[in-house]
């Protein structure tokens, strides 16, 4: 071994053999192939488990510094006071029971030539194939005035956890008659319908608890996911919710956290509670590994999810440029399974088959009222493209019973997918 893992479990899992020779199937006449996965969210944890399921002999190590994962889907309900944040939290005992070694620290570097990941304590893990699923990083350099300290005053709450709880506390403390402002970034970003679901559920909270208050969305776009469905619902439920599009002056150009002010080209907006959803990029390790392009995201092969910039490294979830697939938890789970199948096939020295992927994405607009968008995807011209004729949003003219059914399916989806990944 050229590297010295720190944890006994890691040593046990990875103790066998030198790095496999180039291009040889790792499984033939060799020790167990080593797959390292960076990131224990919807993408990474799914991929680690699916790999173990499809290739039981593989030594799979998941690098994840947090002992508890806090899920983003349904965290908008926490912000609105409709759900306890504990319902968002998941540990890694189920992942461990599935035979996956956890390296409980941050990955700090990747050497694609040596096929080695460096960890925060300077130890290293060698791999035959690496799967990178780091999620997003918030670009604190992209919006003047909005940095880490500013996020303590005007939370982003775009990574679930303390920020979610902070935004909730601020809404609770706000006087009736206050103004809540949410700023939404340009595409691409994590969870395209997320800002509008958040606006809906905060508006629900205001309507029921602080009815003289107002909510404003300042948007860097002229169109957004499930737009007609959201806007139709807002007309009925939330007359105090106003959406300001890019062309109406919605693009935020700077933030003044002290005064909770959003500056746009058309003027300033002062908030009582300000939620800044800033521009994003792939999680930091992507840049260190040399798998992010100038956009900050990671180009991939649509069949294997292998990086277009580095061999033997696969990228899944929000960090990947996945063509028509949105950056959603369902998409991450779906990609993770397809990637695991491709990695297992490549480790056997076989040629991966073309995958087909699915996304389903629910947004809760009010209690017992949800809408959805779905898609089916396949590799086409080097990207993941929509299968034509499939997918789309919930019908615009559906009755309340349809919306209630989708709300129950949304709830069931969260329970099922988190049980599959963490249970």
């Amino acid at each position: 071994m050229r590297a010295r893992p720190t944890r006994r479990s890691v040593v046990q899992m990875l103790g066998a053999g030198p790095v496999a020779p180039f291009f040889a199937p790792a499984v033939l006449g060799q020790a167990a192939p080593r797959v390292v996965v960076i990131g224990g969210g919807f993408a990474g944890a799914t991929c680690a488990r699916e790999l173990k399921r499809q290739f039981g002999n593989a030594a799979v190590t998941l690098i994840e510094p947090n002992a508890t994962f806090t899920a983003c889907p349904f965290s908008n309900a926490v912000i609105a006071g409709l759900r306890d944040i504990d319902a968002q939290r998941f540990g890694y005992d189920g992942v461990k029971r599935a035979g996956i070694a956890i390296a409980p620290q941050a990955a700090t570097g990747v050497d694609p030539q040596a096929r080695r990941v460096t960890l925060a304590d300077k130890s290293a893990l060698n791999y035959d194939r690496l799967v990178v699923a780091p999620g997003i990083d918030l670009r604190f350099d992209a919006l003047p005035g909005y940095d880490n300290p500013a996020a303590e005053i005007m939370p982003h709450a775009w990574k679930a956890g303390e920020q979610t709880a902070l935004l909730r506390r601020q809404l609770e403390a706000m006087e009736d008659g206050g103004t809540v402002i949410i700023s939404a970034p340009a595409n691409p970003f994590r969870c395209p319908p997320g800002p509008y679901e958040r606006a809906s559920l905060i508006a629900h909270y205001l309507r029921t608890k602080k009815p003289r208050s107002k909510l404003l969305i300042l948007d860097a776009k002229d169109a957004f996911s499930k737009q007609r469905l959201f806007q139709n619902a807002w007309k009925v439920f939330y007359p105090n919710l106003e959406w300001v599009s890019l062309s109406a002056g919605g693009k935020v150009t700077s933030i003044d956290a002290k005064s909770k002010t959003f500056a746009t080209e058309f003027g300033d907006h002062k908030a009582d509670v300000g939620n800044v959803i800033p521009p994003q990029r792939a999680g930091r390790i992507a840049e260190a590994a040399g798998i992010a392009d100038r956009s900050g995201w990671c180009p991939i092969d649509p069949v294997t999810f292998e990086s277009k910039l580095q061999q033997n490294i696969h990228v899944i979830g929000d960090a990947a440029i996945a063509g028509a697939m949105p950056k959603s938890a369902f998409a991450a789970n779906s990609q993770a399974k397809a990637c695991a199948a491709a990695v297992a096939t490549l480790l056997r020295g076989e040629k991966p088959a073309e995958p087909k992927l699915i996304n389903t994405c629910y947004s809760v607009v009010a209690p017992d009222y949800a809408i959805s968008i779905a898609g089916v995807y396949h590799p086409s011209n080097g990207l993941l493209a929509d299968v034509e004729g499939a997918g789309g949003t919930s019908p615009v003219d559906a009755p309340p019973s349809f919306r209630a059914l989708e709300a129950s399916y949304a709830d069931a989806w969260f329970k099922t997918i988190t049980a599959e990944i963490f249970g």
Binding site: K337, T360, Y409, A412, K415, I417
Partner: protein, 108 residues
């Protein structure tokens, strides 16, 4: 050597391992032919839990493949109403659906 990629995949999905095994060996020189997960099949479990829990979404694992194929055809044609499966079913051909259904029926 000619290795019929797409046609081969489709055939493997439909007839699965018996007819496909020799081809697989020739094409990929694999040490052993594993039963592959058909395209799209793994995504179903994102919503469809393996056991009949208290979920309103029906389980698919272990189910008669003919039932799944018939349901998907009815979702595609509009004969059967659904909130979301009508949209997803349209993304899969009869052959793909059959392969997925057979695979699901063998899942625990």
């Amino acid at each position: 050597m000619i290795c019929p990629g797409r046609e081969f995949s489709a055939r493997r999905n439909v007839k699965h391992t018996i007819s496909a095994a020799p081809l697989l060996f020739i094409c990929f020189s694999a040490a052993q032919a594993q039963s592959p997960v058909p395209a799209g099949a793994a995504a179903c479990s994102g919503c469809h839990a393996p056991a009949p829990l208290s979920s309103p979404v029906p389980p698919l694992a272990g189910r008669n493949p003919d039932e799944i194929v018939a349901a998907m055809q009815d979702f595609r044609s509009g004969k059967r109403e659904a909130t979301i499966m009508t949209r997803i079913a349209k993304g899969f051909s009869d052959e793909e659906t059959r392969a997925i259904a057979v695979w699901l029926s063998a899942q625990p």
